[in-house]
Symmetry: C2
Subunit: 142 residues, 2 copies
Amino acid sequence: MDVTYTPIGHVRSPHDSPADVTRENARETTGEIVLEDAYEAGLEGLEEFSHVVVFTHLDEVEEHRLTSRPPHATDLEVGVFATRSPHRPNPIAQTVLEVRGLEGTTLTVRGLDLLDGTPVLDLKPYVPAVDDDELSIGWLES
Amino acid sequence: MDVTYTPIGHVRSPHDSPADVTRENARETTGEIVLEDAYEAGLEGLEEFSHVVVFTHLDEVEEHRLTSRPPHATDLEVGVFATRSPHRPNPIAQTVLEVRGLEGTTLTVRGLDLLDGTPVLDLKPYVPAVDDDELSIGWLES
């Protein structure tokens, strides 16, 4: 059974196309998450967290691939669910951003690799989930 | 514009209702994420990560509230986007689970607080995003 969501807002970003974004410039990029007015009360307290997790729908992704070659890896091919590739069956992006300010329904954030106009589905506070000594990160180690 | 997703699989869990789940028993609960057969190649390499992030649709949630009182907090009320409350406009849950094994399209996981049959939208490898010295966690500090 399909699942339908109505976006709660959108991203305001200086990035207009994927070609504008690099890992390096994303780190320094400031932009805004703008929610619909009706959700203002839902943001209360979020500005006290250093980081927010933003869930967006990557509306420019038109097809998915079951495996992908990670950037910089020449002879490695891994399953799409072992990567953060946007070309996934349900193109939901999970992005951790630094919270810089909140005014009304506009959240100012830093570290943005999302494109201008990307629909926002949800926001949650960022809380680390796993202790370092219990962690391993597969192909990303190399 | 609404967004429509087709679940890629479902959760197999010993928990049948929210009343079955406590923070304590969830930590020890083992279950399975079962994907549709067509997605088998997409899982390759995921078993080398210690933890997976599972995105599910909380299909039993029927309404949302803009603010909520966190459990154990008597005089605190915060916005829903500053909490992980399931009663959110788009009830997407993000759950970090320990990977215990992979066979075909069945991923065995530990730490499960999800209910049996919950639709799965996406899986991503868990990778920590923020260094401890840059982190603050708002009302959760108390």
